[in-house]
């Protein structure tokens, strides 16, 4: 009995131990949760900033390439724009024979070719440089066309340069006012772009949140930036004088305001409740590819 007597804890000892354990555990718990909150908040903030950065890269990158005066913007509003997005660039090494009716054949160089794939593809929408009169650039224009078959491998008939690889492309041109369907109006070496018609805009996705995304005609939206607030995208269109315009052909620059928010609510410092954190970016992009001269700007002297 005397031996057992020496091994036990008194009630006071137990209580003190429990209290101390509780204090230490609470402190540790609070430290852990504070750290976790900081970690989550930081991760969310990083995600938010990456969203903003993506917005500052993707939208200006697409808008810079626009030629609004020649029909690249088909519809526009404060939250959405329907536009031609340039995707590929190639160069002709054997131009189509003009004047021509119906489908035309031409050869595109395999190199240089820009846009990720080896050449154009069946059904690609194209813009082909129309030189017209080579002595002036006033009449220079672009012919919209569509690729009508899978391009076939061939060679470029370069004089003195061997036979570098190329692709034979059959196109259906959509001759428009200003395009010249006359002999030599499309010259060897001329650039050819492909493009897709895209919507960029603000939309509410299936999770109930708002995103900035893109979509093609008849297809659902694909989110590319977000989540954003319900007023997460504001586009403003300016003409050459810097005045806001509602006419697509007059757009010379586009103002972008993007308000992104965190994907989950984050507790603010010293705040008892959690809220979505919001950050924004404002930028303005000059359209680089608008005509520099010619009607109605004046002659290309």
């Amino acid at each position: 009995m005397p031996a057992l007597k020496g091994r036990g804890f008194t009630l006071v000892e137990l209580l003190v131990a429990l209290v101390l354990l509780g204090i230490v555990s609470t402190a540790i718990y609070q430290a852990l949760t504070a750290n976790q909150r900081t970690f989550i908040a930081q991760t969310e903030r990083i995600g938010l900033q990456q969203n903003i950065r993506a917005a500052a890269n993707i939208l200006p990158g697409e808008f810079r390439l626009l030629d609004a005066a020649e029909g690249d913007i088909s519809a526009m509003s404060a939250t959405q724009i329907t536009m031609r997005a340039i995707r590929k660039l190639g160069f002709i090494c054997l131009p189509p024979t003009l004047p021509g009716i119906g489908n035309l054949a031409m050869t595109i160089r395999a190199q240089p070719f820009f846009g990720g794939t080896s050449t154009f593809a069946n059904n690609d929408s194209m813009l082909i440089f129309n030189e017209g009169d080579p002595t002036t650039r006033t009449d220079d224009s672009w012919i919209a066309a569509q690729v009508k078959a899978d391009p076939g491998a061939t060679t470029c008939p370069d004089s003195g340069g061997g036979l570098p690889p190329g692709y034979s492309v059959t196109i259906a041109p959509g001759w428009a006012a200003g395009n010249k369907n006359v002999a030599n109006a499309i010259t060897n070496g001329s650039p050819v772009f492909s493009f897709v018609s895209l919507n960029y805009g603000l939309f509410q996705w299936s999770d109930g949140r708002w995103y900035v995304g893109d979509s093609t005609a008849g297809q659902s939206w694909i989110p590319i930036i977000g989540p954003v607030t319900s007023t997460g995208l504001t586009l403003t269109y300016y003409d050459t004088l810097g005045v806001v315009t509602a006419t697509p052909a007059n757009v010379a620059s586009i103002g972008i305001v993007l308000r992104a928010q965190t994907s989950v609510p984050v507790r603010q410092e010293y705040a008892g409740t959690t809220t979505y954190q919001v950050d924004s970016v404002t930028t303005r992009v000059a359209l680089r590819n608008n005509p520099r001269c010619g009607p109605p700007l004046g002659p290309c002297t």
Partner: protein, 395 residues
Amino acid sequence: MKRILRDERGMALALAIVALVIVGALVAGALFSGMQEQRAAENSRRVLQAFGVAEEEAYDVINQWNTQVYNGQKVYPLDSTALVTGWPTTWANSANQTGVYGGYVYRLNGQQYLVDVTARDLVSYGNAALQQEGGGGRERLGLLVRNKPFQFAIKAALTTGNGDAVGGNSTISGIDQSPTNWAGCGPTGNAVGGIRAASGDVVTISGSAHVTGNPPVIIDTSVHASTFDTYYNLLVSMANITIPATTFATAIAPALNASGQCDRTVSTNWGDPLNPTLPCGNYFPIIHITGTGATTTINGTEGQGILLVDGTLAVQGGFQFYGITIVKGSLKTAGAGTSPAHFWGATMVQDSVQVGTNTLTGSANLLYSTCTIQTALNRTAPGVMMRSRGWVPLF
């Protein structure tokens, strides 16, 4: 000993260690993601910097367009011009010192070019450790450029602002002709007038002289001083060769340097139109002969490009010029030896003109040629961005 062991039975130390590990992991995680974020943000900034450098330098290529180098190079894929000596292994500092760049100019056809510029931000370019980490911005940008030829309203083989006396065996023809030794001229165009003279001028044709064209002679009320002056001063400012009026005899001829290349430092080297495939065949200078009231006499042998003469030009012997000639004074030609023409292209003379005098014989011909006119204009034309869609990122 037993007492010490009993003291070590507590879990405070273990708890503290576990807590420290968890807190440490969270802090380390936050630090890591924070650093990643900072790096991503830094890279975004550098990419923007590189983009700015690429765009600036691409536009600079156009602003400082080198007609003799870019316009004279062979069409892709036969030729390209590096923007920086030693490119692609050597980079050059950008004008604003915020990055480095390099690239090429490709000639796509007779009028079009691709300026291909790659740029990097300065910080990552000079920081090997940063490059090893994959840091740094790099952008590649293209500008589609085309020539902006001067728009001369050429309506005749010879346009004059004063009376003309055409005699001897000379021929002035407004029928479009291409030099037989020039490849790639394409089909000829419509005929223009033979002589187009200002209202009130008298054109006399005597001896065995021939003036042909559609029509042979036009007396045109729209011929004014501006017909000759419109681009004269601008062309003078772009001249590759400026020399005073003198008697050149037969000194005007192509010249090669020690390495066999066309020597463009020789002021009497005006290109080699008779041998387009030889080194000077691609050289189309703008030549300005100064000296209002002075006379320049040339006997031989050949030149091409745009010839601007402040005073009077006297051409004798077998001298041939291919391109556009603008004479502010008067023009006198005599003989032509066995050469088919003194002037291929278009000739514009503001003052009185005597072409092939009655006392001289030979074949002092002035032949209208759209091919030589267009080639001379294209080779001397500055580069400008395409009218639209000339700006393209290359990826």
